[in-house]
Symmetry: C3
Subunit: 349 residues, 3 copies
């Protein structure tokens, strides 16, 4: 466990602390979990009650918010500065810089300086690993894969041949990058029966700097151009990125999202869990898609989209649901009533 004074932490953030050197801090935890030697953050007024009730030893908070006597650091974005301190306390393990003799590294692969490679990893011919990369055990890096410096790939990841990965990328266990896109043409066989003919893909995958990909994600190679995840994109677990999809910079995507072939999502988006985006759809910049929505058409930049029916008691749902498909009939009955009432009033005149 590392220990820092409040002053030292403020220094790391390029800020000033309320006391110097201030208390000793051994962790950074959200307000519900913070203990006496932890620093936490208060983003706004709403945090103050929990702050007073909790036992945090120090707090990051914006100008003008009352620290309630707690040692503190002022910040224009307390949550972001808090996140930076979690890296101080809980960052990934320092790379060993060691290449396991039980890894299989092809003699024609190019391994940078300070690279760590775990046991039983396989680095194929022509692959290039930038300086200080960390490749976990059982990782498979295909032929001619290019990986920038300081990228970290957790155990059991598979990278298909030709994929291009930037710097400081993180890929969690089980993910598969560059697998064949899902494309077939329907034809008939000699008996006139349907048969699916595979389209092999000439594209690859390009993952820009500072992307993080969760566990068990699939990112398929492009049909012709590359599938692309822009700089700083963050993807949760079990996400599907189909062939030729383009995701703009800094967009975040929660778990189990699926984006179908050739669709694009703009920059700075926020995509909720279990969202599905149809193929060949364009979603603009800065779009927020609520959890579980289905996107079937283009979405203009800046939109906030919702559309998933929430759960309700089973009996209530059964009745509402049975009427859903009768909506056209209900509207028709309303129209008839309107006409009748209209006629009637005219007759009155």
């Amino acid at each position: 466990m590392s220990t820092f004074t409040l002053d030292q932490l403020a220094d790391i953030l390029g800020k000033v602390s309320s006391e110097s050197p201030g208390p000793e801090i051994t962790g950074a935890r959200p307000i519900e979990y913070a203990r006496e030697m932890d620093i936490t953050y208060a983003a706004n007024q709403a945090f103050l009650k929990k702050l007073a009730e909790g036992s945090a030893g120090a707090v990051i908070l914006p100008q003008g918010l009352d620290a309630g006597g707690l040692p503190h650091i002022r910040s224009a974005n307390p949550e972001a500065d808090f996140a930076r301190l979690t890296a101080v306390f809980y960052s990934h393990k320092k790379p060993s810089g060691h290449v396991s003799p039980r890894a299989e590294v092809h003699p024609e692969a190019k391994i940078g300086t300070g690279v760590s490679i775990g046991a039983f990893a396989v680095i194929e011919k022509g692959a290039v690993l930038g300086d200080r990369c960390v490749v976990g055990s059982h990782v498979n890096i295909g032929e001619d894969v290019l990986i920038g410096p300081d990228t970290r790939i957790f155990p059991n990841v598979t990278i298909y041949p030709g994929v291009i990965i930037g710097c400081r990328v993180i890929i969690h266990s089980g993910s598969v990058i560059g697998s064949d896109g899902f494309g077939y043409a329907r034809d008939v066989d000699e008996n006139g029966l349907p048969v699916n003919v595979k389209k092999f893909h000439s594209g690859s995958v390009r993952i820009e700097d500072d992307v993080e990909i969760g566990a068990l994600c699939a990112v398929d190679r492009g049909l012709a151009g590359n599938t692309r995840l822009g700089r700083g994109v963050k993807i949760d677990n079990l996400v599907q990125i189909a062939h030729s999809v383009q995701v703009g910079d800094q967009t975040v995507m929660a778990s189990q999202v699926g984006i179908a072939g050739s669709s694009s999502v703009g920059k700075y988006g926020m995509i909720g869990g279990q969202v599905g985006i149809k193929d060949h759809v364009t979603v603009g910049d800065g779009v927020v898609l609520a959890t579980r929505v289905g996107i079937y058409r283009n979405v203009p930049g800046g939109s906030i989209m919702a559309g998933s029916v929430p759960a309700m008691p089973h009996k209530v749902f059964l009745r509402a649901q049975s009427l859903f498909k009768r909506l056209p009939e209900i509207l028709e009955r309303v129209r008839r009533l309107e006409r009748l009432v209209q006629t009637h009033r005219k007759e009155d005149i």
Copy 2:
């Protein structure tokens, strides 16, 4: 293939058989599949027709149900006793108790007695494997992971550092336990553009005794406290358990469920496939969530929740769907009609 007399099987269940020794039984299959040397079960009256038509050699059934002349075992819970007999006939292969010389076991890992470790498995420093554990090939057990006795981990599973796993746990291939939770703070960079700052997580994952986790599940580590799966929890394939989620004892969860960060599900729940639970939601004990529902709010204990629009013919749906967003207008037209009719009736008076 093992063979038992009906009497021996009754003995295993702590029950009495209708005949002693009774017929020889070589398998336990559901009623649709049962063959002449199989035992099956009939839970209630509804099973009797299939039982008569089928060719099972013996049956487990409750007191009072007519066995139709078949050799039988009486049970208060025939399905549960049937399940117990499937373990007699089809249980996982007996552990070899052999540690492969091609596994990489850190000298500072602690390996119990009778542990089996497959080829190319990696057991990191400080990990502890309880007696009789079975670790498949290509499994990665991170630093300081604790695993109780009699736990079985299938090939290609990844356990991140610090995860705690109980006794008799089963984890199927491809699953990833303890990966980083999905947490970022939005900030702006030097050019005023959005950037995502990663929150490193101080929590871990705790999996209690008798849990079973299917293939390709992701269970993320907690933001501060542990993510926790209670005793006897059963999880199907491709399920997402986000950071800090709590699942109560004996809850079962079908495939492709996603539970978002910091939500909790009570004990004894039954969660259908493709259900999504939003973050920071509390679902009580004994709740049944129908297939594919979305949970956005707290659900009281004992509730049965539904809410997923079922598929219908494409044309019917197109018409109903186009009216869904016009519901407010339809209600408004009904209100106007009600006011008109009301006025009219008053005028009549």
Copy 3:
């Protein structure tokens, strides 16, 4: 990069080219991506504008469509013939026919001629690999698994014991075939509290010839009979096929589909992404299920089914959604109005 004349490509397709030998072609790309040395296809009139604007060097198109002066090949199914040419240019790497000395092949496994096995793959006792199979690194082939000739299994796949796989099958990285089905019986423990009793499965998985399975799919073994994927079935990434599911020949299934236990899907179906099919449901032949629908009942052959509410602006949705559960009330109000108007009109008479 391979180079072919148009004539040579026509020959491969069993067709005739418009010029002999025709231009040299180095790739096959869809019309939006095609460059000067690429061949592309035009399926119908709608492609012609893009064809004229693009820079493809040659085109496959049906009889009667104007090639606009481009060198061409006539075809009754241009997309299918285009797909065949992608195999000429971008097919998977030729197998090495090499068994890595760092693979673990059980002496009682049977390895055909020309089989390639990657580093750290594990082939268990009694497994049979047909001629020319390609097994990637870190693949685990369980005991008694049977695999037909020319099948290709990408790295990090797990095949549980006893699975049967046909010829020319492709399985992408991370997929898990034959894991335990999800089946438990609820019982009570000695304290009267719920407990889940596991049903071990006697069935296995059978995958017919020419099936392709994407990355990170789970195909569970059958409860009693086999789970089965018919000939030519194509499955995208992150798909769940539960115990005892039957999928008919040539059906294609997009990403994140889930099919629950004992359900069946007919031949020649097209299943959109994120579709969920409940357990014990029968879907007929030639059915089209739109993206994201939920199937709760049997679907007759030839049906086109839809049913997923599309995303809409958040405010519009909030109002429509709040009325969804009030549909029974709205209908009741319409009925009351109809009765009133009816009475009124009678009084008029």
